[in-house]
């Protein structure tokens, strides 16, 4: 049975049901009760999709959200998630949980890694996988191996790109290991690339595109090289839901599969110019 054969009635009932607050989730034990709505919200024909507004894939996610909602015969309503947490995410999971209980049916703009979220949440199948890339202002650098071990490399602290860079470095002989410097912001990392503190930076391709949009004058000065560890440099994007929302999750999975098959995801990526760097519709 295809997704289009599902009825609006069934979806409406399911969306109502998923508003209930779970009583046993561990995360809920850490949240003051007055933050969680105990009533069911009448959502009408809307699919309420939370997004992190500063996500560098926000336009892609909203386009995908629109397409998913259309396949479920619903109208999307995008709701901003709170941002600005500590590096280790203090309060982030709790706030995310509150938002999903009170206001959202699912959250887009989310990184999807197996078994990475607290047990209160579940994830859809990946929608797309974007890549980490190596960026330098030295034309002689066409790969990681062109960089002498005496140089330093930059990565965004707490990012997947920094993780694969660190893991790669640790697997090298001592005499071939670069110094890895984790940066708090891409702007800071770019500054240290330009002043020579680091020889190259490992950065998420959508982040790099956003960075270039703010620094158009650097487009000719900077160039992108493949990562030696490119096979593991992709990061999946998808949606996260409360764990009990299995019905909506299966509906969204079916919609994403449908959109992969008919080329919708590829078209969105192309329309947004996000196919300039390695990207895979449907994820890896």
């Amino acid at each position: 049975m295809t997704i289009l054969h599902r009825t609006r009635l069934l979806l409406g009932a399911a969306l109502l049901a998923l508003s209930a607050v779970p009583a046993t989730a561990q995360l809920a034990d850490q949240i003051e009760g007055d933050r969680l709505q105990s009533w069911r919200v009448q959502t009408g024909n809307h699919l309420r999709l939370c997004v992190y507004p500063s996500s560098t894939t926000i336009e892609f996610d909203k386009a995908v959200g629109q397409a998913i909602a259309e396949r479920l015969l619903l109208s999307p309503r995008f709701i901003d998630l709170p941002e600005g947490y500590g590096l280790d995410g203090e309060y982030a999971a709790e706030d995310f949980y509150v938002k999903l209980v009170n206001e959202c049916d699912a959250a887009l703009t989310m990184t999807i890694v197996p078994n990475a979220y607290p047990e209160d949440f579940t994830v859809t199948r990946p929608i797309a996988a974007f890549s980490y890339i190596l960026v330098s202002d030295d034309p002689a650098i066409t790969a990681l191996t062109d960089i002498p071990a005496t140089e330093s490399l930059g990565g965004g602290v707490m990012t997947y790109g920094d993780y694969i860079l660190g893991a790669h470095i640790r697997n090298l002989p001592k005499e071939r290991q670069w110094r890895r410097i984790p940066f708090g912001t891409n702007e800071q990392m770019l500054g240290r690339l330009l002043d020579g503190t680091i020889a190259a930076m490992v950065i998420f391709a959508p982040d790099y595109q956003q960075l270039l949009s703010r620094h158009a004058d650097l487009a000719d000065k900077l160039h992108v090289a493949p990562l030696k560890v490119e096979l593991t440099s992709f990061l999946n994007r998808g949606a996260v839901l409360l764990a009990q929302n299995t019905f909506l999750r299966s509906e969204m999975d079916a919609a994403i599969t449908d959109m992969m098959s008919d080329g919708t995801i590829d078209r969105i990526l192309k329309d947004l110019g996000m196919d300039k760097y390695p990207v895979r519709a449907g994820g890896i």
Binding site: G84, G86, L87, D88, E90, Y91, Y163, P182, D207
Partner: protein, 578 residues
């Protein structure tokens, strides 16, 4: 010299917006430098009552013999929801409540009638971290002169008129836009106000976290000290090449202590950020001065000494908690010590207050992280290797858990028993450094995942209370129970320890044995810091109860936690005082 200040009924009404037409004029005795160092027995002027952070009251009207005759005098639902970590402050018959969102209420300490309320106006925070900080304000007020001194979530230091709540002056201490905030209140001593900064795990705070000193009468800044970068070569070398601009942590979450003889202040620093060394890129560096005690000259902010309690922390073991100053006998000689359970790992230390020299340490809760002491140097060895992940995604079970061990709930010292009292919990935690960012926004924002909090090996329950001898650290006794002790401890000259738990019980314990003499049950988990005070010859004990996220129902069989915290303060007195 005491100055009596008279205030008109009209001014009271104007401040509160309420109607107090028959309210008699109230007087208020300004708090002096002498009173700060030696408060009137019936007063509770600062977080732990005295600037040595003892959490001890000399009042003894309520004692072991009559504590079962306590009755409720009055209760008050405080103005804000959120984590209930409040500390009532009392002087001249007025109770000041600095609660979440930096709302301050003044109540008549005898009747519970509200005198005024101050509602803080703050900007819309740019970061959600800040919003959460505002919902867990701790001991945010202290008293000086005729003013209530308040620290705020948007990094302000504010002086309010004690009798009206009107703002007298305010100063912006740190740039809240970068992520700085205050969750703990000020220390007032030596004519100065000292502030202790939170939020240094936010991207914008890279390379700097602050302790500041201000003129107590004007708020003018006198000096500031950076806990991440103060030109200390040993600190720089310990980050293994990670530049200052890429260092986070060493927040100063708790209020410091002051010693007038040494003219020094003492405080603790929190964990390094990111938590895991494999993520933060510091390799085998000890990342100083995270998880350290720091001693500064009060007049200048110049560092006198520092001592690190958990080098190479990987699991947010956070060592910012209160430092007590206690003169006791060590090896037959009187010695002034800093006695503290500085961090979540529960290891308790005695350090020489003047020099920072190691004197003793003692473990309390089960611990698989603490590396022990290098006997040659007196320094703490690196965190044990079994709990230091070498790869992202490496799952580790560590004890105590991130929620402690101990947490913000403050310790106490009885000047009668010579014992130091620590409320703690017997929890472990399984977790792993995450291999991904929550979302890509161009600035770091992680997500922490836990795989559960098992009880520590051989633990009888989550809750534990430890009594140590301050000269040696030897255990006098240890108490365990199912529910966690969720409040600070109060010690009194009446031979009592007062401490509350997650199961809503307030325990009045024999301070020499830990035995509960009498207990009473309130509407919600007991929180904040119990305090005691005296007005017109009557001793009162104030207890906070409300929201707590340290209740651990999954690890406490049978524990039921109310869905709504309904934060409140309850005040008890002896029935015979009716």
């Amino acid at each position: 010299m005491k100055i009596r200040i008279m205030l008109s009924v009209a001014a009271l009404v104007a401040a509160t917006g309420g109607v107090f037409a028959q309210e008699p004029a109230r007087t208020y005795t300004p708090v002096t430098a002498e009173m700060v160092l030696k408060p009137n027995p019936g007063d509770w002027l600062q977080w732990r009552r005295t600037v040595d952070n003892h959490g001890y009251s000399p009042l003894d009207q309520i004692n072991r013999d009559n504590v079962s005759d306590l009755e409720l005098a009055w209760g008050w639902a405080v103005a804000e929801t959120g984590q209930h970590e409040i500390v009532p402050i009392i002087h001249d018959g007025i109770m000041f409540l600095g609660t979440n969102m930096n709302t301050v209420e003044a109540l008549d300490a005898v009747t519970g009638d509200r005198l005024w309320v101050y509602k803080h106006q703050r900007p819309t925070f740019e970061g959600a971290y800040h919003e959460n900080q505002a919902r867990r304000q701790k001991n945010t007020v202290a008293l000086w002169d005729d003013k209530v001194i308040l620290t705020t979530a948007d990094s302000k230091l504010i002086a309010l008129e004690a009798l009206t709540g009107k703002v007298v002056w305010e100063t912006q201490v740190n740039e809240w836009e970068k992520g700085y905030s205050f969750t703990a209140g000020p220390l007032i001593a030596d004519g100065k106000i000292f502030t202790f900064t939170s939020g240094c795990s936010i991207v914008g705070t890279a390379g700097a976290c602050w302790v500041t000193a201000h003129d107590a009468n004007t708020g003018e800044e006198l000096w500031r000290f950076n806990t991440l970068d103060s030109n200390v070569p040993e600190w720089d070398a310990s980050w293994n090449g990670v530049p200052v601009e890429n260092r986070w942590g060493a927040s100063v979450w708790a209020t410091g202590s002051y010693d007038p003889e040494l003219d020094m202040i003492f405080f603790g620093t929190a964990m390094p950020v990111p938590y895991a060394e494999v993520t933060r890129g510091t390799g085998d560096g000890r990342v100083a001065p995270t998880n350290s005690t720091i001693a500064l000259k009060a007049d200048t902010g110049e560092m006198v000494w520092w001592y690190q309690h958990q080098p190479r922390d990987n699991w947010d073991m956070d060592s910012p908690f209160e430092r007590m100053i206690i003169t006791t006998e060590v090896d037959g000689q009187p010695r002034k010590l800093i006695v503290s359970t500085p961090g979540k790992n529960g290891v308790t230390f005695g350090l020489d207050a003047a020099t920072g020299e190691y004197v003793w340490h003692e473990e309390t809760v089960y611990n698989n992280q603490f590396g022990g002491i290098d006997e040659a140097t007196g320094l703490v060895k690196d965190t044990l290797p079994d709990v230091r992940p070498t790869e992202i995604g490496q799952r580790v079970t560590f004890c105590p858990a991130i929620a402690g061990g101990r947490l913000w709930q403050a310790t106490a010292y009885s000047e009668k028993t010579g014992l130091f009292y620590l409320p703690a919990s017997n929890l472990c935690q399984t977790s792993e450094p995450q291999p991904f960012e929550l979302v890509s926004t161009g600035q770091a924002m992680g997500l922490f995942k836990s795989f559960g909090n098992p009880l520590a090996p051989n633990a009888e329950g989550v809750g534990s209370l430890h009594a140590l001898k301050v000269g040696t650290g030897d255990h006098a006794y240890d108490v365990q129970q199912g529910p966690r002790f969720t409040s600070s401890v109060l010690a009194t000259a009446g031979g009592l320890l007062v401490v509350g738990d997650a199961d809503r019980y307030v325990h009045f314990k024999n301070d020499e044995t830990g035995e509960t003499i009498w207990k009473t049950r309130l509407h919600a988990p007991i929180g904040g810091s119990p305090v005691t005070y005296e007005v017109d010859g009557v001793q009162y004990i104030a207890i906070a109860a409300g929201s707590s996220n340290q209740t651990h129902p999954a690890q406490t069989p049978g524990l039921q936690v109310p869905a709504q915290g309904a934060n409140a303060v309850f005040v008890f007195r002896l029935r015979s005082n009716d």
